[in-house]
């Protein structure tokens, strides 16, 4: 290690190292992942290997290689990364595993639809087995197969005197039909089942009205 460091320009090494250390955590990242990847590549060339970089800055080779996968991406996506529209190194790493055309389409989904790195990871094996299908169909097929997340808003017995159809109408007016899933009644409870987006909309309405979530639901029932 000492052998390598002696041959390097200390100021450049220190600057690159500092930038990397300041920016490895996504929430407090000061530089784009492209800039970090460039620093890692610089250190790799200076020290001779990614293992030396890992020892120098105390970050695993796995994580460093994820950053370096930025350089395998097509220029269109690199541009999005430079603009900081894509901030997740895991997403960049997974996009780099697709061919360029697929990666560009998927990057659009990441930015516009919030496609996650886990979803990208699950799309990849299905894509590899279905190369002749348009990538848009592949994305839809995989996402449609996901379990549906449901927010269940449960009313206890004291709230049971409600007009179900009126309640459904009011809820769908607020959150949209696409976010309403069901109202189920049992002997003791009524469950309003909506999508997490629907729940988010209701919570935002409550925030705007400066009432609690429970208070908003009660207002809707009344």
């Amino acid at each position: 290690m000492i052998f390598y460091l002696k041959q390097m320009d200390d100021s450049k090494i220190n600057a690159a190292t500092a930038r990397i250390l300041l920016s490895t955590k996504r929430k407090s990242r000061q530089y784009s992942i492209y800039e970090i990847a460039s620093d890692i590549l610089f250190l790799k060339n200076e020290t001779g290997s990614i293992n030396h970089v890992a020892k120098l800055i105390g970050i695993s080779t796995g994580m460093l290689n994820q950053f370096l996968s930025v350089f395998k991406l097509p220029s269109e996506i690199v541009e999005l990364i430079k603009q900081r529209k894509i901030e997740s190194v895991s997403i960049a790493h997974h996009l780099a595993k697709f061919n360029n055309n697929d990666a560009i389409q998927l990057a659009k989904y990441v930015i516009n639809e919030g496609l996650t790195s886990q979803e990208l990871r699950n799309i990849l094996p299905y894509r590899r087995k279905n190369l002749s299908e348009p990538v848009i169909d592949i994305i839809k097929r995989v996402l449609d197969s996901k379990n549906i997340k449901v927010s269940v808003i449960r009313f206890t017995s004291s709230d049971l005197k409600i007009n179900i159809s009126e309640f459904e109408l009011k809820v769908t007016e607020l959150i949209g039909k696409e976010n309403f899933l069901a109202i189920e009644k049992s002997n003791t409870n009524i469950d309003l089942k909506i999508t997490p987006i629907g729940e988010k909309i209701l919570r935002e309405i409550a925030k705007k009205k400066k009432v609690s979530f429970q208070e908003l639901i009660k207002q809707i029932i009344k």
């Binding site: 699950n122 087995k129 995989v142 197969s145 997340k149 808003i153 206890t156 089942k193 429970q214």
Partner: protein, 275 residues
Amino acid sequence: MDITKVLEVLMKDIKLQGSNVRSDLDSPNSKEGLNELAQNISVNGLLQPIVLRGENGKPPYDVIVGQRRFLAHQVLGTETIKATFSGEIDNMNALLLSLSENMCRQEMNYEDTQRAITTLYTYYDKDEKKVQSHTGFSIRMIRSYVRIEEQATEKIKDLLKKGLSMADAKRAIDASQGDREKADALIDEILKLTTYEKKRLVESSSKSPKASVAELVSDAKKPKWEETIVINLPTEISNAVRKATEKLSIDAEQLAMDVLVSWLKTNDFLLEANG
């Protein structure tokens, strides 16, 4: 024998005799990589010598470590290559030496890794920790290889050699519940499913071990509802919660957790040590 002493060895004295664990050198990926390596060596020279089996002066020598570097020299048509000698070592030690080198480099194919791990597993009398120390693989990964070797059908093993993922192989084994014919039928279906559907298929099979392949696939294709229950409390309870959170300066989620833990402990559903 000094393994660190680097010598220039004639290429014609080296013959590949199978001491190296790698057998995937004819694949398109390997050939492409080999050409890249040859180009790199022609520019930078050979940075790390290869390791030959045997003693200097007693050719032919076999390559234990550095088979790709040797083949890259063949591509370049060089007369000599930098090498060190291991001395006379037995087959198992040659395998270990070759394995430890290759595990750290370009990913080995399934067949080579499987053979190496199961050979070591048998040699070390099923001691997973010894296999781990020689290969760097996790115990979980070693168990996966061993389990597949012991439980997979010939069809699944054959598909693994052709690129089937170990995860899919394990899914077929798990979902078949020990029925080998079912495993063979399941693997064909698993390949058509998305990752989310594959997970549901394995879950369904554990709940309904006797379900047919068609039933399992049909169930797997139906997305399930993952419910998060938001309880809308009656007014008096809601007010009491608000008072408590203000007085205790904690948020409602923490209060709910404390109450839940307390109730579970009081009613003997949660042991004190786990609380």
